[in-house]
């Protein structure tokens, strides 16, 4: 099996073997063109590429050049002569199991490196929503190798501090009177632990590499760690990232978790129909972690062992994907990365990815007791394998229809898909009466149902289709203006373990008939889930 090095941006259908596809709709063509950008070597899976030398192919491959010695990546000067005209892509799995996607772009003299690790409800331990997000932040406080002044003592102190914090939190939760000596001990151990390390040392080393960042991007299903550097500094940054993964000490994880909990609580409180969302997820994904995705976080103690176990699961090489975009000499870069990411001491096996429960053909309805915001949430499970872009286009088409109909009864609404994140397959419709409106939840539901049924029966008009596609196109394009944004977007689409990349973002031109068909298939009354809450 061969690796694939492919050029970007050749035409609609880039990356797909065979003749160019013809699109009848200009918008579909354009969207296909964009999606084509992500069709990266789709004929070879990450597993297939493991351990094999890359073999450039096709007309866009770079001209043969002398291979630089390992550890000598491209020099970071802009506008290197002789570099490939269009970006080429190589993907491989390093000896330790980490998955790499390298995109060699020309001209910028910069390299953007994004590490994707899993996060969110699927990997958060039950009862600790947002923990993986907190772990990613705590992991920036450095490794044990160079940062700790006395590693043995610090490990002991961290364990002791973790136990004390758990006990302290339990006492606070039980509203027990906390003895002054306990508070004093917690503070003393905290200070002693802090004195044993320099938690900013790792970040200083990254900056001195030189590199900009690290910046964390928290997505609903993944965490992205983004570092921008020069080609010369690629090996240094690689070693620092490896060290961070292997020796993350999770200093200050409790503080980080408190911050995350506060942030999530604020985010949820800003969604007035949060309780309806929670209920609809419970009905849509019974027994699946996604059912907890809108769970209200509480300030819970973080047992050190649980934190470490969750960290190792998310950081296990088989769970991570590295997307590197920029001025790269691919051969040299691959050699360097293979050398750095050769081994791992993380032994904890990654959890099995839970499968989504099958779509049900039975309609379900739930009425929440009055007391909160009045509104309606309607959910539809989409067919398996619906591309996120198609789901987004569907939501964009339906939203104006819904709002027009709701406006007549003094309401407003919105459609979101996929919800709650890209690993899910739920189309969520939310509708509520406007302030001062006398419409009941039932009336709002009636209007929303009418709008959705009409949409399913009629399909999108040409104008609606064009508007939905244009918005999709603009948003997709905006995410890719500049190399850094491109790297982050590509990484977010590939997801942890590069699964999205493995699946391949095949050019999937979404034509009007496709959207109409998807709408008809999704908006069936049979599998619909309704949650509503009325007035007192």
């Amino acid at each position: 099996m061969r690796h694939a090095d492919r050029g970007f941006g050749t035409a609609p259908g880039a990356g797909v073997a065979g003749p160019r596809r013809r699109c009848h709709s200009p918008w579909a063509c354009r969207l296909g063109w964009i999606l084509g950008a992500f069709a990266l070597a789709t004929n070879a899976s990450p597993q297939q590429g493991q351990g094999q030398a890359p073999t450039p192919q096709g007309a866009q491959q770079p001209a043969p050049k002398a291979t630089p010695p390992p550890g000598t990546p491209a020099q970071g000067t802009p506008a290197q002569a002789g570099q490939p005209k269009q970006a080429t892509v190589r993907h491989f799995r390093a000896p330790d199991g980490s998955y790499f996607i390298l995109v060699s772009a020309r001209g910028a003299g910069l390299v953007d490196w994004v590490v994707v690790t899993p996060a969110g409800p699927v990997v958060d331990p039950p009862g600790l929503p947002g923990l993986t997000q907190a772990l990613a932040e705590a992991a920036l406080a450095g490794t044990g190798r160079d940062v700790s002044r006395d590693l043995t003592r610090e490990l002991e102190a961290l364990a002791r501090l973790g136990q004390l914090e758990v006990a302290y939190s339990q006492m606070r939760a039980a509203k027990a009177t906390i003895p002054a000596e306990v508070e004093a001990e917690v503070e003393a151990v905290r200070q002693a632990t802090a004195a044993l390390s320099d938690p900013l040392a790792w970040q200083r080393a990254v900056r001195a590499a030189p590199a900009m960042g690290p910046n964390l991007h928290h997505l609903p299903h993944a965490t992205l760690l983004h570092v921008r550097t020069t080609p010369d500094a690629l090996p240094a940054v690689g070693r620092l990232l490896w060290e961070q993964r292997e020796g993350g000490m999770l200093r200050g994880v409790s503080e980080a978790y408190r911050r995350v909990v506060a942030s999530l609580a604020q985010q949820q409180s800003s969604a007035p129909l949060g309780e309806l969302r929670r209920e609809i997820l419970a009905l849509a994904y019974p027994g699946h972690p996604l059912a907890r995705a809108w769970e209200t976080p509480a300030e819970a103690p973080v047992p050190p062992d649980d934190a470490l176990a969750a960290y190792q699961r998310t950081q296990h090489p088989s769970q991570s994907c590295h997307v590197i975009v920029g001025d790269l000499k691919l051969k040299a870069a691959v050699a360097v990365l293979r050398e750095i990411f050769a081994t791992s001491e993380i032994r904890l096996p990654p959890p099995d990815a839970p499968k989504l429960p099958p779509r049900s053909g039975v309609a379900r309805e739930s009425r929440l007791p009055p007391g909160g915001a009045v509104g309606v949430a309607v959910g539809y499970r989409m067919p398996a394998g619906t591309a996120p872009e198609a789901a987004e286009a569907l939501a964009r088409w339906l939203t104006p229809r819904l709002r027009t109909r709701l406006d007549k009864v003094g309401g407003d609404g919105t459609v979101t898909a996929p919800f709650p994140n890209h690993t899910a397959d739920l189309l969520l419709v939310e509708a509520w009466p406007l302030q001062g409106s006398k419409s009941s939840a039932g009336r709002i539901l009636g209007a929303a149902t009418t709008a959705l049924n009409e949409a399913a029966n009629q399909g999108p008009t040409q104008g609606e289709f064009l508007a939905a596609m244009a918005a999709t196109l603009t948003e997709a394009g905006r995410d890719r203006v500049g190399q850094a944004a491109f790297a982050v977007t590509l990484a977010s689409r590939c997801g942890p373990n590069g699964r999205g990349f493995k699946r391949g973002y095949e050019p999937q031109p979404i034509g009007l008939p496709t959207l109409r068909k998807l709408g008809r298939e999704v908006l069936r009354p049979a599998g619909r889930i309704v949650v509503l809450r009325g007035k007192r």
Partner: protein, 729 residues
């Protein structure tokens, strides 16, 4: 390079004097120059359109050296519309299928221009021109699947249009159409103004460090000042500003259109801007200089456990004098917020391991470096001194060896980022053009960075001259007894909480209004007399340039009784409004009046100064002081009614105490629109024991309609007057 992969960057308008001075290559063949229509001073340079080829920021497709845009030298006139083309921004990555057009319009260095620019820019984007049948620009752009963003600062208006690649021309055309058809109905601008004020008040109500930073970065000392720049702007001023300053000759026009042939895009933009240029006058004013950041510590006290601290200082561009050296030194100090001399000094002096978050705040002509952290209150003073020491340490100890390598490496990274990202590059080009600096060549800058003779010493001195503002939000501890910290307390006046503290705020404004309202009462006859005024009987004559003059006999009793007999030519129309009788009759025929018509008829006499003052004196009309303004040769106190459904403002002459103008926004049922009405009162004469105006000019909308009213006779009504006690016939 394939034509299809070419990326374009087009710029319009460059400092003219600089262009000629440097002998910049100018290609005028593609676009003919055209006589200018607007007024021009003798000192202004000859106007022309130029096509200037710029080197690309980066990329293998670059050919040739960068040609400067304009000479350095600080001239800020913006006169020559020119189109500069960057050949390539292509890195080989798939282009985003989006076109970005950016217009940066210079804001002149005039008092009040910032507020006018804010309102005009928001009206440009969000207001429709009903007369021209134009919907809001934002709706047009969103209709083609694009979006539009707006940023206004005291030096420029920056508008970004993002559209799908094949709609790029539609987006630019829409922008130009909007720019050449300002909303005629001032109600449109008035609405935008009110929304802008409401939004600004809401944002400034958040008591956080960002608000403080925004206020200081805009050259203001309080949120009130920032709000006042909008409050003080009148609609006429906004329209005048629009006519003079929303035009292609006042700034930079740039478009990034990936995948289109350069020449084609160039020609299309040139022809579009040609039309636009013909409709806008020649600029005569200077672009504003960026507001100076105040030096010192600004402490907004609040009961919290910890303090949020933000250090801010102007950040040089690499192509400024000693810019590269200063960038290297800044990296050596901050190392992106973690590390560097600042962290080292803090660790040495306070044993504090402080991490800062680094951000940049951009304006049209400058940018600020901001370092933010949260610390214990006791550490705040240490941060200030640590930064000062770290900065001053360069005078005796310049970076060498590993420190220099790290700082230079980071400066290089920063330079590459500034030039390699399309958005940041557009920011950079805008700053260069508006500041009158030549475009810099990245290769030269990188070479300069590695030059052993880099003047770090000069850079250190230049860095020391830059102002540094430290903003603090949190509790203030007892400061060091030396008292050397240049701290200014920022109290409620600095950060007025427009949310929770509105009652207190308004209470203060109402107290301030009392002074002026009392003076107005004294000027027209005293509180006792005015309190009793409920209405009037007047014989008056109205005239306007558009219609026949009319004579009127008018009886009015606030709030809901009116009788008017109007004579126009040979016709007589009688209007009667009472609690049960609302009718208009002429020539023996009567028609009943609807509620909107009645409200409209009652609105005008209700705005008579004596009626308004009488209501205030009886505590029926709360007034608050908005500002003290200079209008022509008069200083007036502007009072606003708090509880009126529509805006109502009185301007009281601070010298004489007389009400000079009454400004309101009213619903006109005949126009089915909100209309702004300004009534100017003059010729106060004695009416019994009081004084009343005998001359009024009423200006509606943008000044196109005006009516002059001259009173011939007048008597005032009191509660005891009987002529309205009975229902009028």
């Amino acid at each position: 390079m394939k034509a299809g992969r070419t990326t374009l960057l087009l710029m319009l308008t460059l400092p003219a004097a600089g262009c000629w001075a440097t002998g910049m290559a100018i290609d005028t063949a593609s676009v003919e120059s055209r006589p200018d229509e607007g007024p021009r001073s003798g000192a202004e340079p000859e106007l022309d359109r130029a096509v200037v080829e710029l080197a690309p920021p980066l990329g293998a497709g670059r050919t040739g050296a960068t040609r400067p845009l304009a000479a350095a030298g600080g001239r800020r006139e913006l006169a020559v519309p020119a189109i500069a083309v960057a050949r390539d921004l292509d890195t080989g990555l798939p282009p985003p299928q989006l076109a970005t057009a950016r217009i940066i319009l210079a804001v002149p260095d005039d008092p009040g221009a910032f507020g006018l620019a804010m309102i005009a820019a928001h009206a440009l984007v969000d207001a429709a021109a009903a007369d021209a049948g134009r919907p809001p620009l934002r709706a047009l752009i969103e209709g083609v699947g694009g979006d539009i963003t707006l940023r206004v600062d005291p030096t420029g208006i920056c508008i970004d249009l993002t559209t799908p690649i094949d709609r790029w021309l539609t987006g630019i055309q829409a922008l130009m159409t909007a720019a050449t058809s300002p909303p005629n109905a001032t109600s449109g601008i008035a609405r935008v103004r009110e929304e802008l004020l409401a939004g600004l008040r809401q944002r400034l109500a958040q008591r956080d460090i960002d608000v403080l930073a925004e206020v200081l970065a805009n050259g203001k000392r309080s949120a009130d000042e920032l709000i006042a720049v909008i409050e003080d702007a009148t609609i006429e001023q906004v329209l005048a500003f629009w006519r003079l300053h929303i035009g292609p000759r006042h700034g930079v026009f740039a478009a990034w259109v990936p995948g289109k042939a350069r020449r084609g895009v160039l020609d299309q933009i040139a022809s579009l801007t040609e039309v636009w240029s013909q409709r806008t006058p020649v600029p005569r004013r200077l672009a504003a200089a960026p507001p100076e950041l105040p030096d010192g510590v600004f402490w907004a006290e609040e009961e919290r456990q910890r303090c949020t601290v933000r250090l801010a200082l102007p950040m040089p561009d690499a192509d400024e004098t000693l810019g590269v050296a200063q960038l290297v030194l800044l990296e050596a100090i901050t190392l992106d917020g973690i590390g560097g001399r600042l962290s080292r000094t803090l660790r040495e002096t306070a044993a504090a391991n402080v991490a800062f978050t680094r951000t940049e705040r951009h304006s049209s002509t400058s940018r600020l470096l901001e370092l933010t952290t949260t610390v214990e209150p006791d550490h705040v003073e240490l941060i200030w001194w640590a930064f000062m020491r770290a900065r001053a340490s360069f005078l005796r100890d310049l970076p060498r060896g590993p420190e220099m390598r790290v700082a230079a490496g980071r400066a290089r990274l920063r330079l590459l980022t500034d030039h390699g990202n399309p958005q940041q590059w557009l920011e950079l080009v805008g700053r260069q053009a508006l500041s009158g600096r030549p475009a810099a060549d990245l290769t030269e800058l990188l070479t300069h960075l590695n030059d052993p003779g880099l003047d770090l010493e000069g850079g250190a001195r230049a860095l020391l001259e830059r102002p540094v503002a430290m903003m603090v939000h949190g509790p203030m501890p007892d400061l060091a007894p030396t008292g050397r910290l240049p701290v200014q307390r920022v109290d409620g006046a600095f950060l007025p909480a427009h949310g929770a503290a509105i009652p207190r705020e308004i209470a203060g404004q109402r107290a301030a209004a009392r002074t002026w309202a009392e003076r107005a009462l004294a000027a027209v006859g005293g509180r006792d007399s005015v309190t009793r005024v409920r209405g009037f009987h007047a014989a008056l004559r109205r005239s306007s340039a558009l219609g026949a003059a009319a004579s009127e006999d008018l009886w009015f009793h606030y709030p809901d009784r009116l009788r008017r007999i109007r004579s126009v030519l040979s016709s007589e129309i009688e209007t009667v409004v009472g609690p049960t009788h609302r009718v208009e009759s002429a020539d023996g025929r009567s028609i009943p009046l609807g509620a909107a018509d009645v409200a409209n008829e009652l609105a005008e006499p209700s705005r008579h100064p004596l009626v308004l003052l009488g209501r205030w004196a009886r505590d029926e009309l709360p007034l608050r002081l908005v500002s003290i303004r200079n209008e022509g040769d008069r200083e007036v106190a502007v009072l606003e009614a708090d509880e009126e459904a529509q805006r109502l403002r009185l301007s009281i002459d601070t010298e004489s105490g007389l009400v000079r103008t009454v400004e309101s926004v009213v619903w006109r049922p005949d126009l089915r629109d909100l209309v702004r009405v300004v009534e100017r009162y003059e010729d106060y004469r004695s009416v019994g024991r009081m004084r009343a105006p005998f001359w009024r000019r009423t200006v509606t909308d943008d000044g196109t309609n005006s009516i002059t009213t001259v009173w011939q006779d007048m008597s005032l009504s009191t509660p005891e007057d009987r002529w309205f006690a009975a229902e009028p016939r």
